[in-house]
Symmetry: C2
Subunit: 448 residues, 2 copies
């Protein structure tokens, strides 16, 4: 007998755009059932009545989450697990923040035992917050990626990660070289990339300021040598950073063009932030099928600036959401959606707002955290929706998780309003259950 | 025997300014005891060792919150209880948001039974979030203030509130007149203001756009006729609002000057927002001992703009924090502090940042939410610190309330860092206990 899950089911079929009522872009079953295959894929989905009669389901076959909202597991496209310990570190903007907090924190990850401890905490926080897939930076140490991958494999979690490549402009003990960065990354790729568990590899130059041209060339070779290889890095987060990159790469046309000059802008390349990109840079990203990870909690916490969401949409850049732990202050993609809304609202009122801007819709934010991210990662055949054939990674949202949510939801009738209320008011308490490949995750982490 | 409370005790003696290590502005007892009088005032405070020997305290006399941080109850200086139901309402900025959400929500408060139900929910949310005193807008209906006051009196909670005065530019069924606004407010004042429970009254013209000159004159008479009278209203929240006020009061020098022209700027007058105030307006507020309620979650949610915190400090304006429910999205002053930090960070990086700005310190935000607010409200003889003689309104913060807090606090050693971690990462779960006049509050609200 197929295992079945009952609840309100919601997922996207396509990009809802800026439409306030994007009928056709999503499917919603108020009382639905999702049927799983024995190996944890989604076998079928539909209204409870239809599924019960089609599969002759008895109550004992059904795990009942009625009254709750079941959605695809969230996908976080930018985060640094070695920075878990410095979340909410006080008082600095990007460059000083790196020197004072991020580098010292990352220095501990030469120790695989330590890396394993933090990996376990980090992955359990992702899952407690409803995130079932993430694109993750390690530290410069090869063992940091190994520990992360081993722990994710135990959980059977679909993640993408990589060791940082960084051969200059950081403390000496945190530097690799073009050669070791290449060989360590290559070894990790050949062991892990689409080979073990549900792990994929991302070539991970930290950013152009901390990689020499030789190292960016090494990244280029790796990115192009393997099928379905990912690349993750940072771009245009902070004005001082941008000025620095200009000095370091005077012959490149723009910050993004530094990466492009090394062949690093393409499918499966994800650029974090992009706050200060020009239209030409947005166009380059769109043309090359690369993606931006918009990280609003981080951008506000570090005071980096307001991402120009409307413009990025207009130019059709692939957009996803990132928590950017540890400059971001929350593991929750719901809270990240809330902050994204605020960033867009703030720009609507700025002096430079020459035309009427569109408020960010809850459909768009939930899309970016699910199917939109899966598409940007070229994983829409596997995750991001609840369609038959996909991996059974989904979460159960409780709309009554706190007194305020419960109170607010009594008056909240439309699907759009319920989604918006969840993204503005819910937190980890609203994540009632998390399923990975059809199996319910149980938190066994000591810190939890 | 005196009742005694044990834990880490923290409170301010003076404004910490922008100082990162403002020794002398606060008191901190790592292991402290607070002794209460029989009527719930603070009798004495000091290190546990000292207090135990001075009062011969046995363990059975002590309520033990060891390992937790005890601080004065938070003070929220701007919030609208009739807007509880529209928290996180989608897609509009100030003026449209009022028309579409706020006015319809407030229209229900002609019904005292309904007003009582919402008052109970609202006050229990304040307390669940550690807020023991608030300055609260009712609706235009006299019964809305009565219901709120009666429920606060039952809880023995120190609140300040008032019925809105609004005689134009709102739906007909929500309008009063200069005369009824005056007589209803007067009746409320004479029954409640510093007479029953711990209730004070605030004369409450909504904002200059919804009160005629005649009504503002009525507000002026009320504000000046009674001892220790409060005045609460809104100023300079949104550019469209400011343009509208200019049209309505062409002879006033500025938005704030409209209020000043009617004698409404003075001690115990609290102006919400003030995002776009000029230096002259800041100076007027400072000269008149009036205060600003800075409401960052609301300002970000509505996209109203970034309050110029540094400039307001420079000009010595009395600054407090407000949640601004229902345009604000959280009842928590901890979350409000976090958003305040982000607003200040964002301005440090703006193109117009001509000089180096100072990041908002956790000392300053905790000060604004406690003693700073008490001073702005001229209540520093009663609340806002834990000094002997003050009312026993205090809260117990659990630094390990969530897995992330627990994890983060292990590495957080200085008091400044612990306060900052709490303000960035904690929520209502961190409010372990709330004491009102020395008595622990027990939540009996149906929604909770």
């Amino acid at each position: 007998m197929a295992r079945a899950i009952r609840g309100s089911l919601f997922f996207f079929l396509d990009d809802p755009g800026a439409d306030h009522n994007p009928v056709g872009s999503y499917q919603y079953f108020e009382d639905g059932i999702l049927v799983l295959t024995d190996d944890g894929h989604i076998a079928d989905i539909g209204s409870a009545t239809n599924m019960q009669s089609r599969y002759g389901l008895a109550n004992r076959d059904i795990i009942d989450h009625s009254g709750k909202l079941i959605v695809p597991g969230f996908i976080d496209t930018h985060t640094h697990y070695p920075q878990s310990e410095i979340i909410a570190a006080y008082g600095h903007q990007l460059i000083q923040w790196l020197d004072k907090y991020a580098f010292p924190a990352e220095a501990k990850f030469y120790d695989k035992h330590y890396a394993r401890t933090i990996s376990r905490f980090f992955l359990s926080e992702l899952l407690r917050n409803g995130t079932t897939t993430a694109l993750i930076f390690g530290s410069v140490h090869k063992v940091s990626a190994e520990a992360l991958f081993e722990e994710a494999e135990k959980l059977n979690m679909r993640i993408i990660g990589g060791k940082i490549m960084m051969d200059r402009n950081a403390p000496q003990h945190l530097l690799d070289t073009p050669e070791t960065a290449y060989s360590d990354s290559k070894a990790l790729i050949e062991t892990w990339h689409n080979k073990r568990g549900r792990i994929s590899y991302a070539v991970t130059p930290r950013f152009a300021a901390t990689s020499s041209s030789e190292q960016l060339q090494a990244a280029q070779r790796l990115y192009h040598a393997y099928d379905d290889m990912y690349l993750q890095t940072h771009v245009s987060e902070n004005q001082h950073e941008i000025a620095w990159i200009k000095q370091l790469f005077p012959s490149s046309k723009s910050y993004l063009n530094v990466y492009n000059d090394f062949g690093l802008v393409g499918p499966r390349s994800i650029f974090a932030h992009g706050i200060h990109l020009t239209d030409d840079e947005f166009k380059l990203l769109a043309d090359k099928n690369a993606a931006i990870a918009f990280c609003p909690t981080s951008n506000l916490f570090l005071g980096s600036g307001l991402f120009n969401f409307d413009q990025a949409c207009l130019i059709n850049v692939r957009l996803t959401l990132g928590t950017d732990i540890g400059a971001g202050t929350s593991f929750s993609l719901l809270k990240t959606m809330a902050e994204a809304y605020k960033v867009v609202q703030l720009q609507s009122n700025s002096a430079s707002a020459s035309k009427k801007k569109t408020p960010l819709t809850p459909f768009k934010t939930f899309y970016m955290a699910t199917l939109g991210a899966a598409r940007a990662l070229y994983l829409e055949d596997k995750i991001g929706t609840l369609q038959p054939g996909k991996e059974g990674d989904f979460i159960v949202l409780n709309p009554d998780a706190t007194p305020l949510l419960n109170f607010r939801m009594r008056k909240t009738l439309s699907l759009a309003d319920r989604l918006f209320t969840l993204m503005m008011l819910a937190d980890d308490r609203a994540i009632d259950a998390v399923y990975l490949m059809g199996k319910r995750w149980q938190n066994s982490e000591a810190y939890s």
